[in-house]
């Protein structure tokens, strides 16, 4: 057995796990690791410009490729900057291994330079976290980290690496098996329970499938489509479940929840059987719990037993991987007579189709419609806010399209770096980031990363000079008291602004000039007629990102909207 340094064993672990790209930001406590990486051409190290963005990049890479995303940062501020990224990945079940440098074991507890108890800080926001206290455990801990991250309900795992452990000599062995007595994820489906659920399905008159992100994570889109076509039962999705079936499929009704469409929310309210797969019934999906699916029996299939009966009491719980469960179901289900129910749903759909409030001039929908018409094979990544909801409402997804979004955590600043991660993992795909002027500025420094890596990501930046989602809430529920949402506001403005006028200060920054300062391209679009040519120009810019800044009206709202605490069927449909 050869004796090697901890740093060499780490690189060996990455190689054995099939990692070819990592996202790393160096610092005093990881210099030994970066020195080791310097000598290995088979692992690409991407240098983001901030550790929060770094984790989002690994997240976008992981969501779009299905591989484990790997982060490497230094201790103290480097590790602490990862927190938002880790929480985002945890909420949306994204497999990450986050490696952080730590001060030497002998200094821990001494308040040493850049010492931070990152395992403690992240304890409640990662799937598992551990400090390597002994060189002899390094191989096992790394093996377990990758295993825990990608199995069961996936999630981020943090491994803290004290400096002395990484330079210490030890075994070169990287284990090939894992045996963790407290962690035995089961994906197998209990056939007896499943048959009971199918029996319920067979006796229901108004059944509906509610599909969550678990189906996308399990890669069960084809199986789901088969199930729907076999049973002829209509489907609604959560935000994270969007794309689990072609959005143009005749049995697909759209998204449910706070900004779900009328027919989908009514379908859930009026159905007699809610057959849910891979969703955790977030409050954004259920709204007022006592009125949610009030007439329905509920079947719930989820890989996480703790997700079952947490928010919603269910009649038939099934703990299983979505793909295994749906595949097994295909053996037992029959075609249903759903014509009458479907007609009801379609009449709701026709009565209240999804639309923007205003159809005048340049709107987010017109830009998304252009993407729908021209892209059949792209990855679309959103940030968080109104643009995110419009994208989720209007974007069409087929099996070659993918949508990445921060669902659970709702992290502003997620979109752009995640899009870069997606592009790094899918160089031959078009990657479009849809962002707002608020979220874009939370990680705009990543333009430098994108330029350095020559990533031709197209950034659709909807600029309405405001933090639009908060402004919408203020419009609807706070008597238009526009508190702290104007991004044009300057010191000279009156304390209480009555609305924008000709006297308003110019917008800052100038995104077109800023893009150019970074070595990227910038295009400003103010009219509908310029959309197509701007996209054409962006597509021709094949070695650097392009920001297309769309100047849109700040008064446009995301509707329907269900106010927090109200039942799902009480939607604000127009304003």
């Amino acid at each position: 057995m050869e004796q090697i340094r901890g740093t060499s064993l780490l690189v060996k672990a990455l190689q054995e796990e099939g990692v070819d790209t990592i996202f790393g930001y160096p610092g005093g406590l990881v210099t030994d690791i970066f020195d080791e990486l310097y000598h290995h051409d088979d692992i690409k190290v991407v240098l983001p410009r901030h550790e929060q963005a770094l984790v989002h990049e690994a997240d976008g890479y992981a969501r779009s490729t299905g591989k484990v995303g790997v982060c490497l940062v230094t201790g103290g501020p480097g590790a602490a900057n990862m927190v938002t990224g880790i929480a985002t990945a945890y909420y949306d079940s994204v497999p990450l291994v986050c490696l952080s440098g730590q001060v030497a074991s002998s200094l821990i507890g001494d308040d040493a330079f850049q010492e931070a108890d990152i395992v403690g800080i992240t304890r409640n926001i990662c799937k598992h976290g551990v400090i390597v206290n002994d060189r002899k455990n390094l191989g096992r801990i790394l093996k377990e980290a990758f295993y825990i991250a990608r199995t069961g309900k996936p999630g981020p795992v943090l491994v803290d690496l004290p400096k002395n452990v990484m330079v210490e000599l030890g075994s070169d062995e990287y284990p090939d098996k894992v045996n963790i007595r407290g962690y035995k994820p089961s994906t197998k489906v209990h056939i007896g329970q499943l048959k009971k659920a199918v029996d319920l399905l067979n006796t229901s008159q108004k059944p509906i499938f509610l599909i969550g992100g678990g189906v996308n994570i399990a890669g069960a889109q084809a199986e789901l489509t088969k199930l729907v076509e076999l049973t002829k039962i209509p489907v609604v999705t959560t935000m994270m479940g969007k794309g689990s079936i072609d959005t143009k499929h005749p049995y697909y009704l759209g998204n449910v929840g706070m900004h779900g469409n009328y027919a989908a929310n009514m379908a859930v309210t009026e159905c007699d059987l809610l057959f849910s797969i891979g969703t955790r019934f977030s409050d954004r999906v259920t709204s007022k719990i006592s009125e949610f699916a009030r007439n329905a029996k509920i079947v719930h299939i989820d890989i996480d037993s703790a997700a079952i009966s947490k928010n919603i009491k269910v009649d038939i719980p099934i703990v299983a991987d979505a793909k295994e469960a749906i595949t097994a179901m295909l053996n037992y289900v029959n075609e249903h007579e759903t014509t009458e129910w479907l007609q009801q749903l379609l009449s709701w759909q026709a009565a209240h189709p999804l639309t923007m409030q205003s159809n005048n001039g340049l709107t987010a929908k017109k830009v998304i419609d252009h993407i729908n018409e021209t892209c059949q094979d792209a990855i679309v990544v959103t940030d968080v806010g109104q643009h995110q909801m419009w994208t989720i409402q209007f974007l069409e997804l087929n099996s070659n399209m993918q949508l990445l979004t921060s669902g659970g955590m709702g992290t502003m600043g997620y979109g752009f770096p995640a899009a870069l991660g997606a592009k790094l993992g899918n160089e031959d795909k078009t990657v479009i980031c849809i962002s707002g002027d608020g979220g874009m500025q939370m990680n705009i420094q990543e333009l430098a990363t994108a330029v350095a890596e020559e990533l031709p990501v197209i950034i659709c930046l909807f600029n309405n000079s405001s933090l639009g989602m908060v402004r919408q809430v203020q419009t609807l529920f706070f008597e238009k008291n526009y508190s702290s949402i104007c991004t044009r506001r300057r010191k000279s403005c009156p304390r209480k602004c009555s609305g924008t006028s000709e006297q308003c200060p110019p917008y800052s920054p100038d995104f077109v000039a800023l893009a150019k300062a970074y070595g990227a391209e910038g295009i400003r679009v103010t009219t509908e007629g310029e959309i197509a040519s701007a996209f054409q120009q962006a597509l021709e810019n094949t070695h650097a990102p392009t920001i297309i800044e769309f100047i849109i009206d700040k008064d446009d709202l995301v509707l329907p909207m269900v106010q927090g605490g109200k039942p799902l069927y009480e939607m604000i449909l127009e304003h």
Binding site: V119, G120, R123, N124, K127, H128, G129, V130, I131, N133, I148, I180, R181, G182, Y183, D304, S305, A306, S309, K310, K313
Partner: protein, 165 residues
């Protein structure tokens, strides 16, 4: 809302206690007492946890605990035959001669040992069920001027043939 008991088998590792207590505080579960100690297997610790919750929250707590990688096994002790005891120390000070006599009598009746004393203080050591310890404390605090109480929290193990809780 009811009183519940859990016995947890966990990895004897750094941070496991923080993980478990952090789960309770982070999710606003109501933790009443928690004891932890090593077992016959030095890699395993056992925790005895007392909490108050409704049925649904209790189910969720068990699932959340099971989700922790460091948790090997979660056993619900709420309705199973167990033996459960708690160590209690009570120091009674400012005693008169009559008080001392009374305390020695109480000790005899309650099955409490007196492990230390001087002319005006007594140290009582009591290994009893939690409710008996509660009764002793309430008796002593009403009859004596100055008492100091330290309690260890209950530990529990499954019964062989009889139950004591």
């Amino acid at each position: 809302m009811e009183k519940r008991w859990l016995s947890l088998f966990v990895e004897n590792d750094i941070g496991v206690l923080a993980k478990i207590s952090g789960l309770f505080s982070g999710k606003a579960y109501n933790l009443e007492s928690l004891t932890v100690g090593m077992t016959e297997d030095e890699t395993v610790s056992r925790m005895t946890i007392r909490l108050i919750s409704d049925d649904e929250t209790f189910e969720q707590i068990k699932k959340q605990l099971n989700r922790c990688v460091e948790v090997i096994k979660v056993v619900d002790f709420t309705n199973t035959p167990i033996h459960m005891k708690e160590l209690l120390f009570v120091k009674v000070r400012k005693c008169s001669k009559g008080d001392l006599d009374e305390l020695f009598r109480i000790a005899e009746v309650f099955g409490v040992s007196i492990t230390d004393y001087d002319k005006e203080s007594v140290l009582m050591e009591c290994v009893q069920t939690e409710s008996k310890n509660n009764a002793l404390i309430s008796l002593l605090s009403s009859d004596f001027q100055s008492i100091e109480v330290v309690r260890g929290g209950s530990v529990a193990i499954e019964s062989i043939s009889i139950t004591e809780r």
